[in-house]
Symmetry: C2
Subunit: 147 residues, 2 copies
Amino acid sequence: MFHKILVAYDGSKGAERALDKAIEMARLTGAELVVLTVYRHHSMLEASLSMVRGAVERGRNLDSAMRDVAREAADFAKQRALTAGHDKVKAFIRTGQPARTIIATGREKGCDLIVVGSRGLGATEGYLLGSVSHKVTGLADCPVMVV
Amino acid sequence: MFHKILVAYDGSKGAERALDKAIEMARLTGAELVVLTVYRHHSMLEASLSMVRGAVERGRNLDSAMRDVAREAADFAKQRALTAGHDKVKAFIRTGQPARTIIATGREKGCDLIVVGSRGLGATEGYLLGSVSHKVTGLADCPVMVV
């Protein structure tokens, strides 16, 4: 019923639950699993906020560190799928606004299900604040499972 | 991976897509399917807004008509599951605020997945207006699939 499942994984506990459900769904349906870790790009912000020498360089270092953390998270998620016996799995990292990047990557890869973690905040708070999961369900053109 | 799946069905096109995904999920996992149609209770509102004789009676008639429509929708959904070859299906109707009634029924029946239709409105509109599906994903304590 699903052929390609995108799961957004950022290393949080909520994302880990989503990852495990996505792995189960992928195994059950025989779907390919696409792991996506989104990280924020900070260089330009840092550079524009500071006139001191080295700001751009520090921004680059920060970006590089964030990219490394994202890579590590994505690799962890991929390994988890492999350990669970599902080898149709690829892991990607992307930089950008989380919800829009998740949607864009899902479209680009031709995914027909997106799995995301809920905020983990109780009930109303999550709804009022507007979480990544709410944005994804609002923007997606395929089914979205919020775990 | 899921044992009891609740699908909210109100007769709309979006709910029909959700219903079909829920039936597929139920067949795939062997889960029981719980169809829920929520309708609004109008008698008290009608009665409180009007001092004219007969308002309560008219309210009762309106309720009765809405209940009949809900019953028909729930039965249609159940029949669709049966036709698809899934006989572990029950259909219920409830009155109340849609999102909260969906959540409460899911808890009461011990469901471990809730399937709802998205608003069908494009992207941002749906997100900003806050649909039933957004409320359900914000309030649920089990995974929610928005179709």
